[in-house]
């Protein structure tokens, strides 16, 4: 047989098995539907958790950016020394941004906050800045969990008098972030287990329905993979359909919710900004498809190993 003949043969076998796998789904409609529905529910919940998770993480990150570490200097430290410290701060990886606030700016800001409407009370300090030694750096972090490391480093620098930090805020945000992560992973593990169990059931029913056909195939001389292939196709297709349906649903739902919130609750819009639908789905689509197909494949493989001694 020619090389082309071999390739042709493989292709026809491949398509035959795809056809048989699809027929399995059709013959076994009720169980297939139940599996697709469960898989859809799993992927849907996964998508909901993912969308919530990324939006929440983003919000936590925005909140983290609002937590500042403040560095004060000893009296008599020159501007050059403070600039040198500023340069060191800028080199740190955990630092997102930093601002230098002069003593004058600090006093102006203080006056604005505490003497608004009673400016005459502050006039007595016109030539004698009570915050003369309060020039400082406000440092914003990429990741609040790194706050203590930065504070330890800053406290070791020459000329630094005091480092202010909000330990509670940092710890709360950091813990909250971890909690979201744990819940996300926990839910996903449970959902995957349920989906694998259902695919298992469907393929087991498929095998028992086709028991006679499998027995004949084996007697005629079918290779192990040929007997298994339609069931793998069945599992993979259930996974695929069970991913596409919830993805489409989630796509429209996410857009609708974002638009609804933006229109109806404009005040939330100032506090919370949703991640654009394309940014969420550029990750969610491949991950969900992989998850669905993977669960289908693994579920059917496990069942075949258990119930199909070829």
């Amino acid at each position: 047989m020619t090389g082309n003949g071999v390739i042709h043969m493989k292709f026809s076998t491949f398509w035959y098995n795809v056809g048989q796998g699809l027929k399995n789904i059709w013959r076994n409609k009720l169980f297939s539907l139940a599996s697709i529905a469960t898989m859809s529910a799993c992927i849907f919940l996964f998508g909901v958790f993912y969308a919530l998770g990324v939006n929440f993480t983003e919000m936590v990150h925005s909140a983290e950016e609002g937590v500042a570490v403040i560095v004060y200097f000893n009296p008599g430290v020159t501007q050059e020394q403070m600039d040198a410290v500023g340069e060191e701060i800028g080199k740190r990886a955990e630092v997102a941004s930093y601002d230098f606030i002069t003593a004058e700016e600090a006093w102006e800001s203080f006056k604005k906050d505490y003497f608004e409407g009673r400016e005459e009370m502050a006039e007595g300090f016109a030539n004698d800045n009570p915050l003369a030694n309060s020039a400082h750096y406000e440092i914003y972090l990429n990741d609040v969990s790194m706050q203590q490391t930065l504070v330890d480093y800053l406290e070791g620098l020459e000329g630094v008098r005091e480092v202010h930090q909000s330990e509670l805020a940092a710890k709360t945000l950091s813990d909250f972030n971890s909690l979201i992560g744990y819940i996300f992973v926990g839910v996903i593990i449970i959902l995957i287990a349920v989906a694998v169990f259902l695919i298992n059931n469907t393929v087991t029913v498929g095998i028992s329905v086709r028991k006679e056909e499998i027995a004949i195939m084996k007697l005629i001389g079918a290779k192990d993979n040929f007997v298994r292939a339609p069931f793998i196709v069945e599992g993979v297709f259930i996974g695929l359909i069970g991913s596409i349906i919830p993805l489409a649903l989630l796509f429209f739902l996410y857009q609708a919710i974002v638009n609804y919130v933006a229109e109806r609750f404009q005040f939330i819009g100032n506090l919370v900004s949703f991640i654009p639908v394309t940014d969420v789905f550029v990750v969610l689509i491949p991950v969900s498809l992989l998850l669905g197909v993977g669960i289908g494949y693994i579920g059917s493989r496990m069942t075949l190993k258990k119930h199909l001694k070829v």
């Binding site: 043969m9 493989k10 005629i220």
Partner: protein, 227 residues
């Protein structure tokens, strides 16, 4: 060629299903294997198809020692043996053509080859006109013809028929036997396991009789034959 040398098979219960069986069947022979139920016929078929392993002894088929056939190579080994069953074992949801084509699909034959060979095989068994019929629309004899076509379409050297006439009336049974004879005349070794002594006697072929796992007769049907 089929050769069994000192073959014994004992199941877990301890009773030997076959005991020191020695059989040699040459290429192109037509042989009946006779015996009552429980005599060891089914065990013999399972051993020949390598569904079971002998407890003792060696089986050689087409020059291949079965103990040397690995699990991976069992499918390739089985492609040399066509099998026909008493209850036909056709796929009820597929028509005559598809049932025969199925055997070729299973061995990964090309579509072109399937389209060429299936009609030829259906003509051979006299069912070309009924290629679209479902098994339930056929008589028992016709269903067995489809099963024979399926067993032969991959051109095996050996055809193993397990009680092929067991579910058929006399007329249909004889039609099937004549078909098997015709297939044998084309060069295929035919082994028919049966308990129909009338057919065996009239066909006048070699008969191997098994009783309680032991070969008690091997030769032409004669006055001394006992079953």
């Amino acid at each position: 060629m089929i050769q069994l040398e000192h073959v014994s098979k004992t199941y877990q219960q301890g009773v030997p299903a076959l005991n020191d069986v020695n059989i040699k069947i040459e290429q192109g022979e037509f042989v009946f294997v006779m015996g009552k139920s429980g005599s060891g016929k089914s065990t013999l078929i399972k051993l020949l198809l390598k569904e079971l392993e002998p407890t003792e002894g060696e089986i050689t088929i087409n020059g291949q020692n079965l103990s040397a056939v690995t699990h991976k190579n069992i499918p390739y080994f089985r492609r040399n043996i066509g099998v026909v069953f008493q209850n036909f074992r056709l796929l009820q949801d597929r028509n005559v053509y598809e049932n025969v084509a199925f055997a070729m699909k299973v061995v990964e034959a090309s579509t072109k080859e399937i389209k060429r060979k299936v009609p030829l095989m259906l003509s051979l068994v006299g069912l070309a006109a009924k290629y679209k019929s479902l098994p339930r629309q056929l008589s028992g004899g016709e269903q067995q013809r489809v099963a024979i076509a399926r067993a032969l379409v991959n051109e095996p050297k050996i055809l193993l028929a397990d009680e092929p006439t067991g579910n058929l009336d006399n007329t249909n049974a004889w039609e099937i036997m004549h078909l098997l004879e015709e297939i044998n005349e084309r060069g295929t070794t035919v082994v028919v396991v049966t308990h129909n002594s009338e057919i065996v006697r009239k066909m006048d072929k070699r008969v191997i009789t098994i009783k309680k796992g032991v070969v008690v007769h091997d030769g032409k049907w004669g006055d001394t034959h006992e079953v």
